[in-house]
Amino acid sequence: MVSRRVSTWTAEAAAVFAKEWRCELRTRYALNTLALFTFTTLVVVSMSLGPIGISLAQGSGVLPVLLWLILLFASAAGLPRAFVHEEETQTATALRLAATPSALFCGKLAYGLTLVAALEALLTPLYLAAMSLAIASPTLLVAALAAGGYGLAAGSTLVAAIIAQARGKGTLFAVLSFPVFLPLLLLAVELTGKAVAGQPGGGVTLVQLVLYDASVTVASLMLFPAVWNP
């Protein structure tokens, strides 16, 4: 009985995930937005601060900040759509009847995660190459990207569910997500800086980042049913 419930839950989450990607591949809205945004910002940053524009010592301080700002704004441009288009096309009501809230949330979160992962996989190598930034500790950098990216996806999913039911969705997402993401960004920038420069103490920051991810996940799972169902 319990195992059947678990399997239907997983099937629901997987169905939501698959549906998101099917919709996305049909219009390629988020993918195009993310790619274009990434490309533009990368060109701007690289042209003005490239290998010649900034010294290596300054670079390891400034470049992690820019990397996370690009990631923040790219995800703010692409991720909220997951819930906004459900309300706009009036499919939200059907989804409310069909899916368990937690399964729906996890499906949407998995979609957001793959999107952020794709973005990071595309952006980071290009960024490092364009800035000719040497990485002292590649594992720590990957951990920072994974934990930070997860936090961005999880926070965005809940905030997107909130703003999808309000007016002025685009601006409201930026306004609401900024204070929520602030600790995440500070931690991620710190960790990335440590990975680039090879400073000690990265472990503590990573633990705090993972704690942030866990808290946001637990809070989102608790709050999502109230946000989603009237």
Binding site: L158, Q165, A166, P183, P230
Partner: protein, 227 residues
């Protein structure tokens, strides 16, 4: 009952007047502070404390709204607490900035406490922006409460990060030995009395604001029913 409340209101007025007079004539000047500048702390610290109390009250009301039966009273209390918390927070920020100009030579220098209050003001400003963007009362209450709780979950992480990236100029940290261990007893008395008085004032204002809001909502509903 109502006459008791009247008496309490007058007692609170007397209390606050006593705090004001105490701040200027009873408490001595703090050593190491320029001129009379330490007197602003008798208003600055209680205001910051009250803003903190208000934001906690808003969080508790939001939790009670979401998980305690969706009573519209809790939603009104949360919204009113946020509004009042913003007022007290802005006053604490202004009084702190004035004092910082005198003591540290600059209105603003991103000390951890200054950073935290700015983040709090931005967060609760966003909360009010969210409320403004939703017309339906039940939906507004639900989403705003969820956002407030999300904020409560995220804020503790600032306590990890901020001390590492900024360093504190605040008296409690810098002149710790003098300020915390043997703060002048008369100063401490005025500070505590002020905090208690402002907190009582906050709860009175919170009560009035939520009741007034309830009356407005009922009046609007009646208007709609009449057509």
């Amino acid at each position: 009952m109502e006459s008791l409340k009247d008496t309490l209101a007058w007692l609170l007025w007397l209390w606050i007047c006593a705090v004001v007079l105490g701040a200027f004539y009873y408490a001595p000047l703090a050593i190491g502070f320029i001129g009379q500048s330490s007197r602003i702390l008798f208003f600055h610290v209680p205001m910051a404390w009250t803003a903190f109390v208000a934001f906690i009250a808003a969080g508790v009301s939001s939790l009670r709204y979401l998980f305690g039966g969706r009573d519209a009273r809790h939603d009104r209390a949360a919204a009113a607490a946020v509004e009042l918390g913003l007022v007290f927070g802005v006053l604490a920020t202004i009084s702190g900035a004035l004092w910082a100009r005198i003591m540290w030579g600059a209105y603003w220098n991103w000390d951890p406490r200054q950073t935290s209050i700015v983040i709090a003001l931005v967060f609760y400003g966003a909360y009010l922006a969210l409320r403004d963007a939703i017309d339906d009362g039940e939906r507004r209450a639900r989403l705003a409460a969820a956002y407030a709780v999300l904020g409560l979950v995220v804020t503790p992480f600032f306590f990890f990060v901020l001390p590492r990236i900024t360093y504190s100029l605040h008296p409690e940290s810098v002149v710790n030995t003098r300020f915390k261990v043997d703060m002048e007893p008369r100063m401490l008395q005025v500070l505590l009395a002020g905090s208690a008085g402002f907190t009582a004032l906050f709860f009175w204002m919170l009560n009035l604001r939520s009741r007034l809001q309830a009356r407005q909502e009922i009046a609007e509903r009646r208007e709609l029913e009449r057509g």
